[in-house]
């Protein structure tokens, strides 16, 4: 099912940065790239559960702050040989407002 929900403005997120959206099903990291693309992924590194939204954003990737796992913001997959991935959440930006499709969140304990 598709459930787009407004979570905030593009300008609320620093360029090459991220903010969190807390949901009953876990935290989502919402990322802004250098060219103002917005991506949303599960805020939980597949390696050891690090908060990806605290990582350094570069290109369309983020490096986890705990152990430098690099996760693609577009696919949610870990870049490199280790494999694994996180759920990506569809994003729509309308007039500078960010909407996330929360129907795609996995069932998981609240972080």
């Amino acid at each position: 099912m598709t459930t787009f929900i407004k979570v905030g403005k593009v300008s609320d997120i620093p360029v090459l940065g991220a903010r969190c959206v807390k949901t009953p099903a876990g935290t989502i990291g919402v990322f802004r790239t250098a060219d103002d693309q917005i991506f949303a992924i599960e805020n939980r590194c597949p390696h050891k559960g690090g908060p990806l939204s605290e990582g350094i954003v570069h290109g369309t990737s983020v490096t986890c702050p705990l152990h430098n796992t690099v996760v693609s913001l577009t696919t949610g997959l870990v870049e490199g040989p280790d494999g694994g991935g996180v759920v990506t959440i569809p994003v729509e930006v309308v007039d500078g407002e960010i909407h996330l499709d929360l129907g795609r969140l996995p069932v998981r304990e609240v972080a």
Partner: protein
Amino acid sequence: MRKRLVVIGNGMAPGRALERLFEAAPDAYDVTIFNAEPRVNYDRIMLSPVLSGEKSYEDIIIHDDAWYTSNNVRLLQGKRVTEIDREAKRVTAADGTTADYDKLIIATGSNPFIIPVPGHQLPGVLAYRDLDDVEKMLHGAKTGGRAVVIGGGLLGLEAAAGLKMQGMDVTVLHIMPTLMERQLDPSAGYLLEKAVEDRGIEVICKANTKEILGVDKVEGVKLDDGRIIDATMVVMAVGIRPSVQLAKDAGLTVNRGIVVDDGMRTSDPDIYAVGECVEHDGMVYGLVAPLYEMAAVLADRLVEGAREYKGSQTSTKLKVTGIDLFSAGDFAEADDREEIVLRDAASGVYKRLVLKDNKILGVVLYGDTADGAWYFQMMKDGADIGELRDTLIFGQAFAGASPLDPTAAVAALPADAEICGCNGVCKGRIETAITDKNLKNVDDVRTHTKASASCGSCTGLVEQLLKLTLGDAYNPAGVAAMCKCTDLGHSDVRRLIVAKGLKSIPAVMQELQWKTANGCAKCRPALNYYLVADWPGEYVDDEQSRFINERVHANIQKDGTYSVVPRMWGGVTSSDELRAIADVVDKYEIPTVKVTGGQRIDMLGVKKEDLPAVWADLGKAGFVSGHAYAKGLRTVKTCVGSDWCRFGTQDSTGLGIKLERFLWGAWTPAKVKLAVSGCPRNCAEATCKDIGVVCVDSGYEIHFAGAAGLDIKGTEILCSVPTEAEAIEYIAALTQMYREQGHYLERIYKWAKRIGYDTVRNQIVHDAEKRQGYFERFQHAQKFAQDDPWAARAAKTGGHATEFTPLAEIGTAFPKPEMMEPAE
């Protein structure tokens, strides 16, 4: 008995001749060198990078003291020869020192030409010839003002660029209509003028200097059209004259230079001459490649060889970072000559080849000089370019059937192809050295052959040769790239940031041709640090290039919570401070409180949202951030010292507190931990710290480069000083040296090992001027660094204001978890 060889002059030409002589016949001669300059042989081509600050004198030494010793050369420094007695075969120096010779080499070089206009003897009028001149320029540049450089040739432009980089306003006066007219055609001269002006250097062509104005020192320059240009320094770089007086006085044949035959012999069969003082076949040379060709012939003749010097064709490269320029040969227009020209104004590329009878007569390259060596080789060989002609201007990569692979292109070069133009090293010599001496990387090749040791523009070719000769055994990681975003190593990046005046991360990435749009988690924090360290007060810290710990001034833990460590100066605390910490722990339900290895109190498990409030409460009790998260000054650990301890020799606690208050806030390449022990029992464990102090009766023993983490390493001793003030000055200077030179994440012990412990001692202990410079730059940087980030964050004045709150919290409007579909 061995024959006696006396050399007058210690420049690059005789240096090279002796090198070749010792290779061919190490025991043939007892060698004595008279050197008017009080120095060893250094690379004069590299004076410009010393002036611009990109290299130091130590970097450009060709022969260090050990070289002279190991070759049994008697080097008489600071002794100027005033007389050659050809009858007695004896030379005499100004101070009366004499030496008898069997063979004599005159290598007196050249003197800068000073235009004899009125005022040319005023203080502040300088030449640009040797290290003394460079030192005078650097000294003059310290007070700022405007430098007028007379002469828009190679040397003049390099001097202008260097002085500009040292912060002076610079005007170049050139008498001809375009710059470097002897090496460049007017088109390239115009492009060069634009590029020079883009660097903020004023260029005035057709400028004829009439008079240098001033009473006690230089105040300005007056041109013959009446214009007056204010100046605090005037540099004359209008040319050189062979230094021939000594030879003339001795009755040798002298025209413009000392006349030699094809065997480098003067009119006296036992006297040779080499270098810039020489005239061969009517030609006088001022570039290094011909001098080295002469040196090779001379060395051969000294061991009874028969090599002949047949004159040189020369090429020129301008050594101004960021301006690529190459020229060789004759490029005057004439009826029987043709030319091929490529202009790409958008990318600033201009190439011109002058041809006659399908042979290259001259080459001018501007903007893209990669093919300079290739054209130059074909020009020297007189190669027929008929078949290549259609694509010749596009360079070697497009030349006829030759492949695009640069390694294959180098493989195709003949063994006598010149790779290094500065030092006259050919391909065969490099290959032989790699094989015979088991060389592994570019630095090895530089050490053994001098190839790419001067201007460095042939480094790529040398790498290709290593790859060809060693195959898979070649590991280019001799200089490891910073990360996958660039091929440059940390040292090069740091050097170029300063040399090119790059002051933002996008500027660095643009100018240094980063391969990714905005770097990665490895290079961005490194670049951010380099810019913070190199441009204090100018560069604005880039939050998004900081690792999370430095962005939120706390240490991230495995569960995403943070630990908070307030500063306790020198490890000393009080009941009020402890009470405040206890209150914070209770109020925010902080699960763990622990004492750290650096004598501080750590509160672990703080939620990110709580951080600003925790800091605000700690701030009210007088605490500031302990920087326990920083690549910066962490802690100064102390023992109780003479205040309490019956063994304490000095107030180690007091010194620790002073040091911490002086150094806190400083960003460094990696974390820096200090300790001060009050006596050699060393209870503060100062001898395994980045920097340590061990107090003794007579003062303070300063230690550095210890480690007690991944590696265990005892410290090296820097020096002992009698007072606290000196201890603080030396430690701050050492910290600044590390800040300026260290690679990001490289601890002091690794940095010091890389550059050499003695290099650190020489600059911090033995060179008061250098130490003072470091100290002052540290103090300046601290003005911008000693801001408590916690206070700024708690007051919402620092960082991204919304860092600590979620973008949104979604509750009831959200479908229940069990309704959600699993991920695909």
